[in-house]
Symmetry: C2
Subunit: 345 residues, 2 copies
DNA sequence: GTGAAAGCGCTAACAC
DNA sequence: GTGTTAGCGCTTTCAC
């Protein structure tokens, strides 16, 4: 730890290379329109002095930051119990890096943090924001839109008003759910139950819709609400078993809940998949492959979703006007899902 | 998406409040030495105009950024297969937020990224860095130290030279391992095997050392190297079973490998814990509680470790000279671990 | 206590 | 092609 050496400025490089600051600036920023000989001389001076441009000074005049905020609202610890966000972050990071942008991570929990995030975004520290809005009633999206920062949402936002110009990336939750349920149906199962996620999240609601698309006339008692946690899955499974002991398949809203359901089924002496077929959602690897039996589940390419979010935002940023005309923006992108068949169904 | 409104400047606020820019600046930065009446007037003007200071301009003169980089080297996907980093990030984020600092996330994979990170850190974008150096031969730590940025490492750095002034936070891997092995011993087990993590990581090496502390004269064939993944755990377990079928306990270097070992043991008809007792490390919840039987394991408070890293860095940053005299800095902080007893041992 | 003025390091017209 | 110049929005002496 020590930082005493004053870093060299453009001025210093210019002096060393015997040119003006403007020329150095040009070289540093690509070097177009500068004689090759000079470029060379400046490059050498930069090298020798170990010059690195001061980003603050640059931002001050360009009003660009080459930085993007990633806002993750995380009111519940659940978010960190699964590698979901980590993987998406990685996709985002890769894409941002490829375009020389930095990733500023804003983790929030609670209202106090919301204000802070709003202030930060409004403060013009970043060129844009990638926002994960988990809940229907989340005030964050509103705050962010008001901050006037170009934004791409992860997951379909749940609020109803002003959804028109909103850009988001989502997985095909509904379609994926349909596919899973159809698969169970194809196995000859007829009494298929569904354990939903928390229904104030669009992903959970959409999966339930997918389930209903296929099981239009399903017994309402075959649906139980969980919370995307293993414990919630256990609870819901017990409930279902109590209400409809005759069930022969379960589609869980995610893999974690499926794992919980599996345990309860075993407790009750039901064999999987012989007595009850079980399917999950996410293909969350450390879980889906480790359960006994391994889970049949719906995979979403979450890393690609992250990458796409970043790409969309970046495109909007330098796409000049494109980003500034909400009406013209592509509203939402929905990524396909794949059914992964393992032993549980 | 739309950002056309030019944000108000200090100047504008000053005009509105009928004071000078200097006064507004003072108020915005705490308001000491300004008459209460004026403070009030300025505050109101700030409010009315929705003024937010331009951080770039401020940084340009103060040379502070109130931002900290978090560097995560992630050559292997393993890192994202477990919620480990997510949880630590959250601890870091909480602490940084409490001190009004931003978190800039730098994810790296491969050498190209190293150069980028080095450049970024040297570029003076952030006041300090929190670095996770996973491997013994990682060039990153060196690069970073050369960049002259105050740094705190997560996990004991593995390189041998110049370890003196290095500040780091680590879990008591060795002590935790000892406790786990002693527990197995206390269960009356005598032929205790160990599945290590990749030994180029200090955490894995330290856990092995802990194992050896207790099992000083252990049969070398009772140790097999894994890679912290479930598949690696399976492989190592098979190896061990082949070499020493008589083993009656296994201490795995982490929970993921323990889960793999559990599966192999079941395959081979060994009952856990009756025939073979199994212990893990990490207390990685979605895994440790879900295995069958649930894992006895060593818990480390990873969120607290993250928080501590941030605290240490921040303290060094405003501790003026404290941070600049490497010799005076506390070299390393080691957090305690706890044995969590579940059904597997 | 408050204001005036001088930059922080850089880019972007605009001359030459 | 290259240099000159004028700020970007803020903090911070230094007078008053």
């Amino acid at each position: 730890m020590s930082e005493t050496v004053p870093r060299p400025t453009l001025e210093a490089v210019a002096a060393r290379a015997g040119v003006s600051r403007a020329t150095v600036s040009r070289v540093v920023n690509g070097g177009d329109g500068v004689r090759e000989a000079l470029v060379e001389r400046v490059r050498r001076a930069v090298e020798e002095l170990g010059y690195v441009p001061n980003q603050a000074a640059r931002s001050l005049v360009t009003r660009r930051h080459d930085a993007v905020a990633v806002v993750i609202a995380e009111p519940e610890t659940r978010v960190f119990a699964d590698p979901f966000f980590a993987r998406q972050l990685r996709g985002i990071s890769k894409e941002l890096t490829a375009h020389d942008n930095q990733l500023v991570l804003l983790l929030t929990e609670g209202r106090a943090d919301h204000a802070r995030v709003g202030r930060y975004l409004a403060g013009g520290h970043v060129d844009g924001a990638l926002v994960f809005s988990l809940h229907l009633d989340d005030p964050l999206p509103g705050l962010i839109q008001r901050a006037g920062v170009p934004t791409v949402f992860g997951g379909r936002p749940g609020w109803s008003d002003g959804t028109s110009g909103v850009v988001y990336v989502d997985s095909d939750n509904r379609g994926g759910a349909r596919e899973a349920v159809r698969h169970l149906l194809g196995l000859g199962r007829t009494r298929i139950a569904h354990i939903t996620g928390p229904l104030d999240q669009t992903s959970a609601a959409d999966r339930l819709d997918g389930f209903r698309d296929v099981m239009a006339d399903a017994d309402p008692h075959l649906v139980a609400e969980g919370d995307f946690t293993p414990a919630g899955g256990e609870r819901a499974m017990r409930e279902l078993l109590g209400r409809r002991p005759c069930l022969d398949a379960v589609f869980a809203g995610n893999d974690l809940m499926a794992a919980g359901a599996l345990r309860v089924l075993r407790e009750h002496g039901r064999r999987v998949p012989d007595d009850v077929a079980v399917a999950g959602f996410d293909d969350m690897l450390p879980v889906a492959e480790q359960t006994d039996p391994p889970l049949t589940t719906v995979r979403q390419d979450i890393e690609e979703a992250g990458r796409l979010m970043a790409r969309l935002l970046l495109r909007g940023l330098d796409g000049s006007t494109a980003a500034e005309t909400p009406s013209a923006a592509p509203s939402g992108v929905v990524l396909p899902t794949t059914l992964i068949r393992r032993a549980s169904a």
